[in-house]
């Protein structure tokens, strides 16, 4: 009984809606589960992560893998690549862990480090123009913060009501470039990842530069800092970062070789439906709704 609790169970049977405000019934009984859909996905629905857009952050307890989002933050992505290449983050620290908000890393105030060839700051990339070469898979349910939400290029994204502007949104494990009080004061030398409920009020206030695609559980358990904003108060509380390297600079034998499901693929569209209407037998109310930050974006070892 215990292992079935609050579980994503394997059952396939369609459960009846119990609640007073139950949504319309799912379109088909005994429809495939999320696992079934992934197992049946064609290889062409997956894309290998680009070694030039993939970062490995090595922590004492393991590796965190980041995918950069050059379609949304090209300047920041280029600068973060440059920072990794010059070894900027090697020996830096996790400096902040604020509960239900963000975990942040870089060089602490008492150990300032200057960038070399990389830039200390970049112009803000809070949003960009919608473009036909950027496919968008929208979600049907209303969003609290934006006219529409969905997925573009492997990331959760929003669009304005006119369909002209688009931006990445602050879901769990999204990666942002910390900034000071002005828009153009961030550049990637301070990075943060969302470790709790989506702080969507940060959307269009900070440049989101990518997403943690593996190893987020190493960051989310960082002890919460007791200083203002969750900063650690003593150097001993900080966790040291061994290195941050671009995958392209890592020997082939050490690479993770990950692939991500294309968010414009038929498989992803099927997954959205499977998450909107939860058909696992444990769910007594299939929900019939899906938030942009409640949709996993599958990543796996290539060809697995």
């Amino acid at each position: 009984m215990q292992k079935g609790m609050v579980a994503l169970c394997a059952g396939l049977a369609l459960a009846p809606a119990l609640a007073a405000d139950a949504p319309a019934a799912p379109p088909a009984a005994a429809a495939p589960s999320m696992a079934d859909i992934l197992a049946a996905s064609p290889a062409g629905d997956w894309r290998a992560l680009d070694p030039n857009n993939t970062l490995y952050m090595e922590l004492p307890k393991g590796r965190v893998i980041i995918e950069l989002a050059p379609d949304f933050a090209p300047k920041h992505a280029a600068n973060i690549r440059a920072l990794a290449k010059e070894g900027y983050f090697d020996g830096a620290f996790i400096v902040r862990s604020q509960d239900n908000y963000v975990v942040q890393w870089g060089w602490p105030e008492d150990m300032p480090r200057k960038v070399k060839k990389a830039h200390a700051a970049e112009k803000a990339e809070f949003f960009r123009a919608v473009s036909p070469d950027l496919p968008y898979t929208p979600l049907p349910d209303p969003d609290t913060y934006a006219a529409t939400v969905g997925f573009t290029a492997g990331f959760p994204a929003a669009r304005d009501a006119e369909g002209k502007s688009t931006w990445l949104v602050h879901c769990y494990a999204m990666l942002g470039a910390g900034r000071g009080d002005t828009a153009d004061s961030g550049g990637g030398a301070e990075l943060y990842a969302v470790n709790g409920h989506s702080p969507r009020h940060l959307d269009k206030n900070v440049t989101l530069v990518g997403r943690i695609v593996q190893g987020m559980e190493l960051l989310s358990v960082m002890p919460r800092g007791t200083g203002p904003l969750g900063f650690y108060e003593t150097p001993a509380e900080r966790t040291a970062i061994k290195s941050v390297r671009l995958e392209a600079d890592v020997p082939t034998a050490e690479r993770a070789n990950l692939e991500a499901l294309k968010t414009e693929s038929p498989t992803f569209v099927k997954l959205i439906d499977a998450r909107r209407f939860r058909r696992e037998s444990w769910f007594l109310d299939p929900s019939g709704h899906l938030g942009v930050c409640n949709m996993p974006i599958p990543v796996r070892k290539r060809g697995s």
Copy 2:
């Protein structure tokens, strides 16, 4: 500069909206900040936590304080009181920590424990009828999962389109009673707290019984379990629970004496406005939107 990053800054100035999809301007410039509003709140806008609805869970690293929600889950609240009184959780364990989902505690499968006077299960309390004696402070923005969302009796809640049914929602730090495959198989002997983005698809699928009002940061950092659903695979990974006691059974000198802001108070309504339109100078786009799981429900030491 670093400390201002991704911060809830103290600045009061009204910042202009920058983004293409900026919301309407806030109603008043230089409006008070959240801290200002709390500092000016009258004592009558606060309520002392009821010692018969407050639980202390003592962990090796400190105390977690829970407020039960008898207005929504009276049977479960009564049963959890009974479980605490018979010492059911004393010596139990954190058995599960699944990243971006839930942390769960109770007795592991290999150490089953029977309830004494308490019940092993209660009838589901997934939702209840709207009642005039339950004030509701709704939020103006759309919600993805429910017709309306807001706050009732100190908890985040939703209502159906007809205004007849209401239920608690799965925000960060909300507390639920794990269940098996059937609706009436939970009862509070297995409890979980949300440790990531709100899993709102669990709404109306599990009975929510309360909220962690202090000490959530002790639960959110529990190392993630590597077994299915984030269960720990070996006994050594589990964290032991010293005790779970009802505050009413704790000597007065050991009590935390907390009070919560009434969610139907004028102060709380002002706070909602201050969170919808972020007036701190760091925010370049004030957002103009607020999700039900993005609104803090202030709790403090009584009279502080």
